[in-house]
Protein backbone atom coordinates (compact mmCIF):
# COMPACT_ATOMS: atom_id res chain seq x y z
CA UNK A 1 0.00 0.00 0.00
CA UNK A 2 1.25 3.46 -0.83
CA UNK A 3 1.08 6.13 1.82
CA UNK A 4 1.84 9.70 1.06
CA UNK A 5 4.92 11.02 2.75
CA UNK A 6 5.72 14.67 2.34
CA UNK A 7 9.47 13.99 2.49
CA UNK A 8 9.40 11.82 -0.62
CA UNK A 9 8.76 14.86 -2.76
CA UNK A 10 11.60 16.69 -1.10
CA UNK A 11 13.96 13.78 -1.72
CA UNK A 12 12.82 13.69 -5.32
CA UNK A 13 13.56 17.39 -5.67
CA UNK A 14 16.99 16.91 -4.16
CA UNK A 15 17.68 14.03 -6.56
CA UNK A 16 16.60 16.24 -9.45
CA UNK A 17 19.10 18.91 -8.43
CA UNK A 18 21.86 16.36 -7.87
CA UNK A 19 21.25 14.87 -11.30
CA UNK A 20 21.36 18.28 -12.91
CA UNK A 21 24.87 18.84 -11.62
CA UNK A 22 26.09 15.26 -12.01
CA UNK A 23 24.88 14.44 -15.48
CA UNK A 24 27.20 16.15 -17.85
CA UNK A 25 28.66 15.09 -21.16
CA UNK A 26 31.13 12.20 -21.20
CA UNK A 27 33.91 14.74 -21.15
CA UNK A 28 34.02 18.48 -21.15
CA UNK A 29 34.16 19.78 -24.69
CA UNK A 30 36.08 22.88 -23.66
CA UNK A 31 39.09 20.82 -22.64
CA UNK A 32 41.91 19.93 -24.95
CA UNK A 33 41.16 16.89 -27.08
CA UNK A 34 41.71 14.06 -26.39
CA UNK A 35 40.87 13.86 -22.69
CA UNK A 36 43.49 11.79 -20.90
CA UNK A 37 44.16 9.99 -17.65
CA UNK A 38 47.75 9.53 -16.59
CA UNK A 39 48.85 6.85 -14.18
CA UNK A 40 52.34 6.39 -12.86
CA UNK A 41 53.68 3.48 -10.86
CA UNK A 42 56.98 1.57 -10.57
CA UNK A 43 58.85 3.52 -13.26
CA UNK A 44 55.99 3.03 -15.68
CA UNK A 45 53.56 5.56 -17.09
CA UNK A 46 50.20 4.61 -18.54
CA UNK A 47 48.21 7.16 -20.50
CA UNK A 48 44.58 6.55 -21.41
CA UNK A 49 43.03 8.83 -24.02
CA UNK A 50 39.43 8.90 -25.17
CA UNK A 51 39.36 8.80 -28.95
CA UNK A 52 35.98 7.33 -29.91
CA UNK A 53 35.49 6.74 -33.61
CA UNK A 54 39.04 7.57 -34.67
CA UNK A 55 40.86 4.82 -36.58
CA UNK A 56 44.53 4.10 -35.80
CA UNK A 57 45.75 5.62 -39.08
CA UNK A 58 44.36 9.02 -38.06
CA UNK A 59 46.22 9.11 -34.75
CA UNK A 60 49.85 10.09 -34.58
CA UNK A 61 51.96 9.64 -31.46
CA UNK A 62 55.38 11.25 -31.22
CA UNK A 63 57.98 11.38 -28.53
CA UNK A 64 60.08 14.52 -28.44
CA UNK A 65 62.63 14.73 -25.64
CA UNK A 66 60.49 14.30 -22.51
CA UNK A 67 57.18 15.21 -24.11
CA UNK A 68 54.63 13.00 -25.74
CA UNK A 69 52.61 14.52 -28.56
CA UNK A 70 49.27 13.01 -29.56
CA UNK A 71 47.89 14.50 -32.75
CA UNK A 72 45.53 13.55 -35.52
CA UNK A 73 42.21 14.22 -37.04
CA UNK A 74 38.73 13.21 -36.07
CA UNK A 75 36.91 13.11 -39.36
CA UNK A 76 33.19 13.67 -39.38
CA UNK A 77 30.98 10.79 -40.42
CA UNK A 78 27.97 12.84 -41.43
CA UNK A 79 25.68 11.35 -43.99
CA UNK A 80 23.71 13.25 -46.54
CA UNK A 81 20.46 13.33 -44.60
CA UNK A 82 18.74 15.96 -42.51
CA UNK A 83 20.09 15.83 -38.95
CA UNK A 84 17.86 16.16 -35.91
CA UNK A 85 20.78 16.44 -33.52
CA UNK A 86 24.47 17.21 -34.00
CA UNK A 87 26.38 17.15 -30.73
CA UNK A 88 29.59 15.36 -31.56
CA UNK A 89 32.67 17.42 -32.32
CA UNK A 90 35.11 16.86 -35.16
CA UNK A 91 38.36 18.34 -36.36
CA UNK A 92 42.11 18.21 -35.99
CA UNK A 93 43.69 17.87 -32.59
CA UNK A 94 47.08 18.02 -30.94
CA UNK A 95 47.97 17.53 -27.33
CA UNK A 96 51.38 17.61 -25.69
CA UNK A 97 51.93 15.77 -22.44
CA UNK A 98 55.04 16.64 -20.48
CA UNK A 99 56.41 13.44 -18.96
CA UNK A 100 57.96 13.47 -15.49
CA UNK A 101 61.14 11.78 -16.75
CA UNK A 102 62.79 10.50 -19.88
CA UNK A 103 61.39 7.24 -21.20
CA UNK A 104 62.80 4.33 -23.15
CA UNK A 105 62.21 5.12 -26.80
CA UNK A 106 62.11 1.50 -27.86
CA UNK A 107 59.65 0.37 -25.19
CA UNK A 108 56.59 2.38 -26.10
CA UNK A 109 53.38 0.52 -26.63
CA UNK A 110 50.14 2.00 -27.93
CA UNK A 111 46.90 0.05 -28.12
CA UNK A 112 43.53 1.17 -29.36
CA UNK A 113 40.47 -0.66 -28.06
CA UNK A 114 36.82 0.41 -27.79
CA UNK A 115 37.70 4.01 -28.52
CA UNK A 116 40.35 4.21 -25.82
CA UNK A 117 44.00 4.67 -26.67
CA UNK A 118 46.38 3.20 -24.10
CA UNK A 119 50.01 4.27 -24.23
CA UNK A 120 52.51 2.48 -22.02
CA UNK A 121 55.90 4.03 -21.33
CA UNK A 122 58.77 2.96 -19.09
CA UNK A 123 61.47 5.02 -17.44
CA UNK A 124 64.73 5.36 -19.25
CA UNK A 125 67.89 3.99 -17.60
CA UNK A 126 69.65 7.36 -17.55
CA UNK A 127 66.70 8.93 -15.70
CA UNK A 128 67.14 6.47 -12.84
CA UNK A 129 69.40 7.37 -9.92
CA UNK A 130 72.89 6.02 -10.32
CA UNK A 131 75.37 5.33 -7.58
CA UNK A 132 78.85 6.59 -8.33
CA UNK A 133 81.75 4.66 -6.94
CA UNK A 134 84.46 6.65 -5.20
CA UNK A 135 87.97 5.48 -5.78
Amino acid sequence: MYTYNIFNDMIKLRTLFDDFFDQKPGYEASREFPPVRIKEADDKITINALVPGIPTENIDIQLADDSLVISGEKKDDYENHPYIRKERLFGEFKKTIRLPYRVKHDEIKADLANGILTISLSKSEDAKPKKIEIN
Binding site: K12, A41, T46, L50, P52, I54, H81, E87, I116
Partner: protein
Protein backbone atom coordinates in the same frame (compact mmCIF):
# COMPACT_ATOMS: atom_id res chain seq x y z
CA UNK B 1 1.53 13.91 -8.06
CA UNK B 2 1.65 10.51 -6.51
CA UNK B 3 2.74 8.51 -9.47
CA UNK B 4 5.93 7.03 -8.13
CA UNK B 5 5.22 4.15 -5.82
CA UNK B 6 8.66 2.75 -5.08
CA UNK B 7 9.78 5.75 -3.10
CA UNK B 8 11.97 3.67 -0.81
CA UNK B 9 14.47 3.25 -3.64
CA UNK B 10 14.83 6.94 -4.34
CA UNK B 11 18.07 7.49 -2.46
CA UNK B 12 19.55 4.03 -2.97
CA UNK B 13 21.87 2.94 -5.76
CA UNK B 14 22.59 6.38 -7.04
CA UNK B 15 25.28 5.97 -9.65
CA UNK B 16 26.62 8.90 -11.56
CA UNK B 17 26.01 8.67 -15.27
CA UNK B 18 27.42 10.73 -18.08
CA UNK B 19 25.36 11.73 -21.07
CA UNK B 20 27.01 10.47 -24.23
CA UNK B 21 27.12 12.91 -27.15
CA UNK B 22 24.78 11.96 -29.97
CA UNK B 23 24.15 12.62 -33.64
CA UNK B 24 20.74 11.71 -35.02
CA UNK B 25 19.46 11.80 -38.56
CA UNK B 26 16.28 10.62 -40.19
CA UNK B 27 15.48 9.24 -43.59
CA UNK B 28 12.23 8.00 -45.03
CA UNK B 29 12.84 4.55 -43.60
CA UNK B 30 15.03 4.92 -40.53
CA UNK B 31 16.28 7.01 -37.67
CA UNK B 32 20.00 6.66 -37.10
CA UNK B 33 21.43 7.45 -33.67
CA UNK B 34 25.18 7.62 -33.18
CA UNK B 35 26.54 7.86 -29.64
CA UNK B 36 30.07 8.27 -28.34
CA UNK B 37 30.69 5.68 -25.64
CA UNK B 38 34.46 5.22 -25.33
CA UNK B 39 35.52 2.28 -23.18
CA UNK B 40 32.25 0.44 -23.48
CA UNK B 41 32.18 -3.17 -24.61
CA UNK B 42 29.27 -5.20 -25.97
CA UNK B 43 28.96 -7.09 -22.68
CA UNK B 44 28.28 -4.05 -20.50
CA UNK B 45 25.98 -2.23 -22.87
CA UNK B 46 22.21 -2.23 -22.51
CA UNK B 47 19.70 -0.88 -24.99
CA UNK B 48 16.10 -1.13 -23.87
CA UNK B 49 12.94 0.17 -25.44
CA UNK B 50 10.06 0.47 -23.04
CA UNK B 51 6.84 2.40 -23.43
CA UNK B 52 7.86 5.48 -25.37
CA UNK B 53 11.45 5.57 -24.16
CA UNK B 54 14.63 4.23 -25.68
CA UNK B 55 17.16 3.85 -22.90
CA UNK B 56 20.85 3.28 -23.43
CA UNK B 57 22.98 2.42 -20.42
CA UNK B 58 26.61 1.40 -20.49
CA UNK B 59 29.29 0.72 -17.97
CA UNK B 60 32.84 1.69 -18.69
CA UNK B 61 35.45 -1.04 -18.76
CA UNK B 62 38.31 1.19 -17.61
CA UNK B 63 39.56 -0.03 -14.27
CA UNK B 64 39.67 2.45 -11.44
CA UNK B 65 42.91 2.59 -9.54
CA UNK B 66 43.10 5.94 -7.82
CA UNK B 67 46.43 5.31 -6.09
CA UNK B 68 48.56 5.60 -9.21
CA UNK B 69 46.54 8.35 -10.82
CA UNK B 70 48.55 11.52 -11.47
CA UNK B 71 46.27 13.46 -13.78
CA UNK B 72 42.76 13.08 -15.17
CA UNK B 73 40.66 15.06 -17.63
CA UNK B 74 37.83 12.63 -17.16
CA UNK B 75 36.71 10.26 -14.48
CA UNK B 76 35.60 6.70 -15.05
CA UNK B 77 31.88 6.97 -15.18
CA UNK B 78 29.06 5.17 -16.77
CA UNK B 79 26.90 6.36 -19.61
CA UNK B 80 23.17 6.70 -19.71
CA UNK B 81 20.83 8.45 -22.07
CA UNK B 82 17.13 8.21 -22.72
CA UNK B 83 15.38 9.28 -25.89
CA UNK B 84 11.67 9.64 -26.31
CA UNK B 85 10.45 7.79 -29.35
CA UNK B 86 7.16 8.10 -31.14
CA UNK B 87 4.75 5.52 -32.45
CA UNK B 88 6.43 5.61 -35.84
CA UNK B 89 9.16 3.21 -34.66
CA UNK B 90 9.00 -0.50 -35.36
CA UNK B 91 9.97 -1.80 -31.93
CA UNK B 92 11.02 -5.18 -33.21
CA UNK B 93 13.49 -3.78 -35.70
CA UNK B 94 16.21 -1.91 -33.89
CA UNK B 95 19.76 -2.65 -34.95
CA UNK B 96 22.75 -1.83 -32.76
CA UNK B 97 26.38 -1.74 -33.79
CA UNK B 98 29.30 -0.99 -31.49
CA UNK B 99 32.54 -0.06 -33.17
CA UNK B 100 35.60 1.64 -31.72
CA UNK B 101 33.67 3.45 -29.01
CA UNK B 102 30.81 4.52 -31.26
CA UNK B 103 27.39 3.00 -30.82
CA UNK B 104 25.15 3.20 -33.89
CA UNK B 105 21.48 2.46 -33.44
CA UNK B 106 19.23 2.07 -36.44
CA UNK B 107 15.56 2.44 -35.67
CA UNK B 108 13.35 1.39 -38.51
CA UNK B 109 10.16 3.28 -39.07
CA UNK B 110 7.05 1.17 -38.98
CA UNK B 111 5.37 0.37 -42.29
CA UNK B 112 2.22 2.35 -41.47
CA UNK B 113 3.97 5.71 -41.40
CA UNK B 114 6.09 5.27 -44.50
CA UNK B 115 4.96 7.15 -47.56
CA UNK B 116 3.00 4.80 -49.70
CA UNK B 117 2.28 5.02 -53.36
CA UNK B 118 -1.24 4.09 -54.23
CA UNK B 119 -1.65 2.27 -57.44
CA UNK B 120 -4.43 3.42 -59.70
CA UNK B 121 -6.31 0.75 -61.48
CA UNK B 122 -7.36 1.57 -64.92
CA UNK B 123 -10.99 0.82 -65.51
CA UNK B 124 -12.23 0.95 -69.02
Amino acid sequence: MMTETNSKNITENRKVFHTPLADIFATEDIYSVKLEVPGVTKENLNVVIEDDELKITAESSIEENENDLKYADFSVKNFSRTFRVGNDIDRNRIDAKLENGILTLTLHKSEEVKPKKIAINQVN
